[in-house]
Structures are given as structure tokens and as C-alpha cells.
Subunit: 344 residues, 2 copies
């Protein structure tokens, strides 16, 4: 079994760990032959769970630890006291080469801090960025940063664009993903200084990216580009505002289809279509945030995900590990000269 086929997993992170994690792995491994899992967590709890799932037989090794990062732990505490926890060990396995990618559904801030400390930032990357996949009219769009940093200057936004483009190529199967900056108007003169600075640099021909300019908030769901770049504050608010609206509209639909006996009969007849609708609105199908800009793959699963969502995050981690996205990022960063000016 080669290193590139081993996934390192934090069994103890997330609202319903370790049960959901093990169930997710079972779904994931059924789809992927030739992949094995290194599972970090409490052996006494994990052994019976693994034993009960045939898909995991002989493909899931337990790396025991009885320590884990709690959901309340602050990033600074996780750095000081996290060593030896299931989350820490899961990420460290990528660093040592024991695994090719890691997944955790645990505490987001702690995972970002631990991943940055262990995997280190790539040369030329001042700030890693958290990336989300946003469902759109045309498929999916990568949005970054969605919360790793609360601010981003022009140079950082440009690095996000480079990282997002390579990421989209790796996971969206697009040879030449289109990239835009998120703004509040499409005119060149709009937005913060930082945005206009990044806009000018991306328009220059330093790097070979299909940069299309500014887009607005509604263009994300419109799917008019493959990658939308923004600072972590704006990206986080946009992502969560969108999630809120999706839940609101779903509740309107439920009410509409239960408002009368006739509507209820209609809903039963339309049930196959409505099932497909529920499937499309299920966040499990787009689960998996990636902290881009590190020397290794560390994927964050939503803490409240179900087994299917955890399996999606695992698939994303292995797809990334198998791709050349880190080399592409390094190549493009070199061309911008960013590596020369990087001071931390």
C-alpha cells in the first residue's frame, strides 16, 4: 500500500464523533478501492465500531490516543495543549508522510492553527485561505477565503486567486478555471483599495490565469465563474447568509406543499422530484473546506455533518492529494515574484 493511498482521519472531531466518522468512512471506502485509512482516536471506542462495518475490514488502522481537541478549545490553547490529540496526530501523519491527506470534523479554529503549525505555509503564502464549494446554476464554484483571515490586502487576494485557480482545476475538472474578485459593483472604480490593487495586478500579465474582473454577490450562485476570491470576513458572511436563505426558501417550500389537502396530494405525486430537490439542498453533498496554502492537505468537514457529508470530505481530500495543485500554486507564485518579497 503506497503512501498516496492512505487517508489520515481524526475520529474524535465533530458533533457526532466517532459514530458519524466511522459511518462516513464506511461509505467512502465502499466507493474507493485501493485506499486505506489511518484512524486517530480512542481504540476502545473505535474497535467495536470498525468491527461492525464490513467495508472497513482490513482497510482501517487505529492509531490510538485518548486525547482530543474539544469544541470549546481556543486556537491558542490547541497549539499549546493539542499535541498528542486525535486532531494533531491526524495532521501530523501528513507531515511525516504516513498519510497523503487528513480530514477532521473538529473545532475549525483549532484545526486551522494546528494545520498551519504542523504543515507550515508554502513559500510565498503569507496567509492560508479556507475554501468552500458553493452550488450554482451551472455546477459548483470555489469561494475563498471563507474565514481563515478577517482581512486581506491586495497581495494576499492575489495569492488567494492563484490558490483558488489551482484548487478548482484539481477538484472541478476544469482545465482553465475562470476567476473573479467579489465586489459591490462590476466597474473598475468600485471597492476598497485592496480590491482595486488586486484587480490591477490580476489584469497584468504576470500570471497566466483566466481573470474576468469583479463580480457581485448574486453572481456566485449564478455560477458565472469557477473561483470567487474575497477576504475571509466577507466570504464567511456571504456563505452563511446564503445558507440562511437556502434554509428559509426550503421552509417556504415545505409550507407551500402542506398548505392544503390538495397541495399535500400534489407533493406526494411530485415526491420523486422533491426528493431530488432535497438531495440538491443537502449540504452533505458539498461538505469539505480546505485550508489552501499549506504544504499538505488538511480538509475540514462540517462539525454537524452526516455520514454522507463526511464521506464527501474524505473524497475531496484524496482527490486533492492525487492532484498536482500544490506544484501549480508554487509555479504561479514564483511567476508573480511573491516568493521573493515574502516576509512573515
Amino acid at each position: 500500500m503506497s503512501m498516496s493511498h492512505i487517508l489520515s482521519v481524526d475520529a474524535m472531531g465533530g458533533d457526532n464523533a466517532p459514530d458519524v466518522v466511522v459511518d462516513g468512512l464506511s461509505l467512502f471506502l465502499r466507493e474507493r478501492s485501493g485506499v486505506s485509512v489511518l484512524l486517530h482516536g480512542d481504540e476502545a471506542k473505535l474497535k467495536p465500531l470498525i468491527g461492525a462495518r464490513p467495508a472497513l475490514k482490513g482497510r482501517c488502522e487505529i492509531a490510538h490516543t485518548d486525547r482530543y481537541v474539544s469544541s470549546e478549545m481556543k486556537p491558542s490553547q490547541a497549539l499549546r495543549r493539542g499535541k498528542g490529540t486525535s486532531m494533531w496526530n491526524a495532521v501530523e501523519a501528513v507531515k511525516t508522510g504516513a498519510a497523503s491527506a487528513s480530514v477532521s470534523a473538529g473545532n475549525t479554529g483549532a484545526l486551522m492553527a494546528i494545520s498551519m503549525l504542523i504543515l507550515r505555509k508554502m513559500d510565498g503564502v503569507h496567509r492560508p485561505a479556507m475554501t468552500a464549494m458553493w452550488p450554482t446554476m451551472k455546477g459548483r464554484t470555489a469561494v475563498l477565503d471563507v474565514g481563515a483571515n478577517i482581512e486581506a490586502d491586495a497581495s494576499q487576494l492575489m495569492t488567494f486567486a492563484i490558490m483558488g485557480e489551482a484548487y478548482a482545476r484539481a477538484v472541478l475538472n476544469k482545465k482553465r478555471p475562470s476567476v473573479a474578485l467579489l465586489n459591490i459593483g462590476s466597474e473598475d472604480t468600485k471597492g476598497h483599495d485592496e480590491l482595486r490593487g488586486a484587480h490591477e495586478r490580476l489584469l497584468s500579465d504576470m500570471i497566466d490565469i483566466d481573470y474576468v474582473g469583479f463580480v457581485e454577490g448574486d453572481d456566485i450562485s449564478g455560477g458565472i465563474v469557477d473561483v470567487v476570491v474575497t477576504d475571509g470576513f466577507t466570504g464567511n458572511v456571504a456563505l452563511k447568509a446564503g445558507e440562511g436563505v437556502a434554509r428559509l426558501v426550503a421552509s417556504y417550500v415545505r409550507e407551500a406543499l402542506t398548505s392544503s389537502t390538495m397541495s399535500k396530494v400534489g407533493a406526494v405525486l411530485a415526491s420523486s422530484g422533491l426528493k431530488a430537490l432535497r438531495e440538491r439542498l443537502n449540504p452533505s453533498n458539498v461538505n469539505g473546506g480546505v485550508l489552501l496554502g499549506l504544504n499538505g492537505v488538511s480538509v475540514k468537514s462540517h462539525g454537524g455533518t452526516d455520514a454522507q457529508g463526511f464521506a464527501t470530505a474524505c473524497a475531496l481530500a484524496m482527490d486533492l492529494a492525487a492532484s498536482s495543485y500544490m506544484d501549480e500554486i508554487a509555479e504561479n507564485l514564483k511567476r508573480t515574484g511573491t516568493t521573493q518579497v515574502a516576509v512573515d
Copy 2:
């Protein structure tokens, strides 16, 4: 007919002006007895439109001008060359006292600039804020700023909170609206310095507002507070991201209900419920952005609105004019001491 019953309207602003404007006024006046309209625009075009609509008979006076602000005009151009246009005259009628509120579906940037120049900012308000009504699980929530400024410091955010609270009392029929700051986490330690500064000032007992702390993007649609305060960049992105997601989910619903013959039959049976759903998703029912912080009511209707949407914006303008929201804002600003330190 007293001044407080006259609405000043820009007949020539918006994608489908003046037809949609006149249709909207017809809907609006049928619902509101005792209100008259002062309609600014091209008399030759408006006269036949008005004549064809019985609801407008004797209740709509034309203030002729053949000049108007185009959708391409920049705010600075509108300030230099806007005098005498239908938009300018509509706002000026509020200043002179000829009308109690104005509505325009024209160029947003131009309307903001012209409104600020003519109506002037209230004492203590450094930056007016554009306010939107956001549909939620529990009703509607006022969100501001959604685009008048791209940045806001702690003092400005606090002023937005004061203005939004008075606005919500005026139009949401809440005696004591709850207010929150939009952030990317609910902990006290999260967010920009500006946000944390505003948070501390709002927690102090200088002003009598039901301030509940930080909320996140998905809490807007959740309807957990009546007023959500943010800077204009973040607010604009959140609002448009939400609009995009609403359109996306609506398209999913359409696909789900036309995916098979059975689904289509089901959709027919559920048609009354689905009609109610369309109604709830219709942006016309929440149309009307208000630039808060000026000495007078200037309401911006969406440029692409239909007649119902324009009527909604008119109703909002008159409700605001009839309320005491400006006095309440002035009162609260005085209490914060903001008026003393205001320097422009």
C-alpha cells in the same frame, strides 16, 4: 390636502419608466385614500398614461421636466448636471416641503448623492446608510448598511444601529426592536477592531437600545433580531449573495416539479401552495431601500421592479414620513454624545 399626504415621485427612473411607475402609483393610490402624488417627468409622456388610469384621476399632479438622470451617470456627474432632472426635482420637493417623502427607481449612486446634497445629513450622522428589508423565518429584518458606504468605523456602526432601530420601530410595528452586529462568530473576541469597538459601545448603557450582540450571516434569515448592522460592503455582498441563493433554490424547485409527468401533475394539484410560494419569493413585496440619516425621506425602488414593487416602495415612503423615526434618531444620537464630536 396637507403636506404630509403628498408623495413626490421620479417618473423617469428605472428600467421600465415611466410605465411601471404610473402602474405602481395606480396600485398604491387604490390602497391609500387621502394621499396625492407629485409626479416629476415628461408631461407629454405622462399625461396619456395618467389619463388611462382611473385611480390616478385628480390625485396626481405632473411637475414637468424633460431632463432625467441616466442609469450610466456617475454620482459626481449627477451632482454637477443633475439639477432640474426628474430625480433631483423629486427629492427637492421634500426639502421645500411640497411633499413629505420621495421615491425613485433610478440610478442608485446618483439618488444617494443627490439626496445627501439636497436633504443634508442629520446632525451627528457622518454617513447615511442604505437599509434593506430582508424576509426571514419570523417576518422581516432591517439590514443596514447595504451599500451607501464601503467602510464603517465603530462610531458609524453605532449610528447605524441607532438609525436602524428607529426605522424598524417605524415600519415593523415593533415597540422595542432588537439589534445585532453582523460578525463571523458570536464570541466577544471575534471580528475587526471596528466591530469590537461598536460592540463595546452598544453594550454600555449610553443609549436605550435592545442590543443583543453579534450574529452570523445565517442568523439574518433566521430572523433572530429585528435589525442587523454592518458596513456597506459586507451588507451589499450578503444581500446579493442571499438573492442569488434564493433564485438558485427557486430554479431547483422548478426543475423538481417538472422532472416527470407525475411531478407535473403533483405541481398542478399543489398550485395554490406554489402560488403562495412564488408570492413569498417575489422581491416586489420587500422592495424599497431607504437612505437613513438624512433630513427627509428618500426611498430607492429597485430599478427593475414591477408595478407591485413600486407600490410597496411608495407605501414604505409614506409610512416613514408619518412616523417619528427622525426625532427618535436625533434623540438617541444626542444621548450618545455623537452630535458633539461630529466633524465632517
